[in-house]
């Protein structure tokens, strides 16, 4: 747990942990309280940490430098689908291969920046409001 919050849970792994912290700071300035979890083990996944947080916040954004299929996002979705169905948004590579470029160029092009996490948070929170 990197930061306690009440409005949304952000679960990130690898590089995206740093992007999640940046996003959390931007969200705070917008009046949104983000709980940030730095999850280093994808399997077995820490179900308790996910569920404890989601019971509080009611929605989640997952962030990873991996295909959106089969990575951290799906591991979290599997836990939620069984125990606590909740709105979720993915920040991940959208089922494509990469290409040559600097790390910064690629993170931007493939949508893995703090701004992408902020957008995903706004989207998931809107869905949470509809459900409420």
């Amino acid at each position: 747990m990197l930061n306690e919050g009440t409005d949304v849970t952000i679960i990130a792994t690898g590089h995206l942990v740093w992007k999640a912290i940046e996003a959390g700071e931007q969200l705070e300035a917008m009046g949104i309280s983000a709980e940030i979890i730095n999850i280093h083990t994808i399997k077995p996944i820490d179900e308790k940490a996910i569920l404890d947080s989601l019971k509080k916040t009611g929605c989640v954004v997952t962030a990873e430098e991996h295909n959106r299929i089969g990575g951290l996002g799906d591991a979290v979705a599997q836990v939620l689908a069984v125990h606590l169905p909740s709105p979720q948004e993915y920040v991940a590579v959208n089922d494509s291969f990469g290409e040559s470029g600097t790390p910064e160029q690629l993170m931007k092009k493939y949508g893995l920046e703090a701004s992408n996490i902020v957008e995903a948070v706004q989207k998931v929170m809107a869905r949470k409001r509809v459900l409420a």
């Binding site: 705070e28 991996h66 089969g70 951290l72 990469g98």
Partner: protein, 174 residues
């Protein structure tokens, strides 16, 4: 929001190199194998201090996985090192049959994961490594975020009895 300040730029792979050396000093059963990327994986310090416990397999990743699986039968704890793409996709069959199905305690250490490998492009950037390994029964998947977490995870897996994919990045941070 809790404040996190940037103190020092240290690459994750150096966390792996430091952890491997420390783990090697603690336990003489730890051995390391590398497929011609010793410098890139920061395994050189281990290779220098424990030359008899380091195997340079050359660019023969599939063989490296087979050798690692075999070494466990004699009680060794092998750490294999190469880029994430060559640690998972290229050697999926060897990992499935010789390590996962055979229940062998091999630590598959995979650097340069994801897009941030950068200029080497799509042939070297794997975005399926976590998914591929996650689906293998009994395989643990660990993905640390920085130098400290990578080092801590290296020491932790050295003491565990299960096989795992340990995937991390190269130089890029924050």
């Amino acid at each position: 929001m809790k404040k996190y300040t940037f103190s020092e730029k240290k690459d994750t792979r150096s966390g792996f190199g430091a952890g491997l050396l420390e783990a090697g000093r603690k336990n003489e059963n730890i051995v390391a194998l590398c497929a011609d990327l010793t410098g890139s994986l920061k395994m050189d310090a281990f290779a220098k201090e424990f030359p008899a416990r380091f195997i340079q397999t050359g660019i023969a990743e599939a063989n490296m996985m087979g050798i690692a699986a075999g070494l466990t039968i004699g009680g060794k704890i092998p750490f294999t090192g190469t880029f994430a793409n060559f640690s998972t996709g290229r050697v999926y069959d060897q990992i499935r049959q010789s390590i996962a199905y055979s229940d062998k305690n091999v630590k598959i250490c995979a650097s340069h994961a994801g897009l941030t490998l950068g200029e080497d492009g799509a042939t070297h950037q794997i975005l399926e490594d976590i998914g591929l390994m996650k689906m293998l029964p009994g395989m643990t998947v660990i993905n640390p975020c920085d130098f400290n977490q990578t080092k801590a995870a290296t020491l932790a897996i050295a003491e565990s009895s299960w096989s795992c994919l340990f995937t991390f990045w190269s130089t890029y941070s924050s």
